[in-house]
Point group: C2
Chain length 267, copies 2
């Protein structure tokens, strides 16, 4: 059982009601890594006995800081159709909502398919050094990251960079077969784009993240524990917030997920 | 009062409980245009007396077909922080949820800002013909659309197009000062990207749409009723669904909103 499996373990209390715990291996500076919270919210849907289909989309709203310790996960099917199911999820601590989420699960069908956003040509993961661990943050140690063109800025020199785009090869450490919860977490592995574009490590935190799952279970299984190519870029920084658009491909160039998040930053 | 103002009119029944109506001017083939439903869900938040701040992000999940007629809109502040507020919204007909949504409103601040996804160089709206009305669909008549490179395919010739990207100048008809509700609706004005990429008008419907609002109220006011440049492109088509990433700029090149939606399509 890997740290990710441990973090995703939810104890069923009643139908649609689970007990989970933050995991010290995914600790951020304050509270848990947002990606693991997203994965835990999705895990409540995945473990719901009435679920039909596979994840299609997930929106996670980070309402309040999550404290280290236990939480209740409540998942409710708002509407069940023939091939899609709409979910409402809350993570609560001490009776207060700390995370709200919606998700759609769907029966997938093998029909006409195309990748339009093609995987960029980048060096193979074997040719790149693993990113060093950070002294004060635990969760990056749970990922084998091989950064291509997006080193963590070490100096706040305010030398503005023309682009916030970053790319890395990434997979869980220890390697673990990919599933939708792991993929949701990986959509959040990038440091805030403002640190790169503005070249200043101003405090920042994700407000909301939406993940669109293109991969069905068969493609996730075929991807297994191979490194994934992840790319992130902001489209605009304005009035104290910016967005971050993400794509995740497997080595064969299949686009597994696309994501968009909104991030708060301090002046 | 324009048709959009009429469509957004909600009668307050109790705190966070409103009565609204579908508008015949925004009728789609079956039920209303998804963009107007998104705008109505956001309108319930905007009219809530406890709201703080301006829209930052909105996710709308189309759970079930909305019938023409009245609906209840329920908006609830899940969490109110000092500068952000997290919302849960439902549109109901006959006691059943037809649309679920989450939104975040936030106090915006004039701080460091950049547009990273720059407005493409395209012909001015004055040089382009207005798109013709469609005989069987009412809602496109509520928009002045000047299509740049994305004509509605008229023949299903299955001649695959290398790109699904489409661009148009668009504004409400009659022209109306832009606000966040109008902007949310405009994020949904594109026909399904599969009609272009695959070149087959297979039935398709939006499952979920997320809008990130970059513009604050001052920028929306400055934009007024000028035409907006809207761009849409899919990133992947797989297993019966595809995504559609959207950007909306004003004529001055400010990025007002970015959006991502997930669309179902028939084989």
């Amino acid at each position: 059982m890997t740290p990710l499996d441990e973090a995703l373990r939810l104890e069923a209390l009643a139908e649609g009601r689970f007990r989970g715990h933050t995991h010290p291996g995914y600790a951020n500076m304050v509270g848990p890594f947002g990606g693991i919270t997203a994965a835990q919210a999705l895990a409540a849907v995945m473990q719901h006995p009435a679920r039909i289909g596979e994840p299609l989309t997930l929106t996670v709203n980070y309402c309040a800081a999550m404290a280290d310790g236990g939480f209740d996960a409540i998942a409710q099917a708002v509407k069940t159709n023939r091939t899609t199911q709409h979910w409402w999820v809350e993570l609560r601590q001490d009776g207060r909502t700390v995370t709200s989420a919606t998700a759609v699960t769907a029966l997938r069908r093998q029909v006409w398919q195309r990748v339009e956003h093609q995987m960029p040509v980048v060096p193979a993961p074997e040719t790149l050094a693993r990113a060093p661990s950070l002294r004060f943050v635990e969760w990056p140690r749970r990922y084998e990251m091989r950064v291509i063109d997006d080193p963590l800025p070490l100096v706040d020199d305010d030398t503005e960079h023309p682009s916030s785009r970053g790319r890395m090869w990434v997979r869980d450490d220890p390697p673990r077969p990919l599933d939708a919860c792991a993929l949701a977490a990986i959509c959040d592995v990038f440091f805030p784009r403002i640190w790169r574009r503005r070249a200043r490590k101003t405090p920042a935190g994700t407000v909301s993240m939406t993940v669109c799952f293109h991969a069905d279970a068969a493609l996730l299984a075929a991807t297994g524990s191979s490194p994934l190519l992840a790319q992130a870029q902001a489209q605009a920084f304005r009035c104290g917030f910016f967005d971050q658009a993400v794509q995740v491909w497997n080595r064969e160039g299949e686009l597994l997920a696309t994501s968009q998040q909104v991030v708060y930053h301090k002046a």
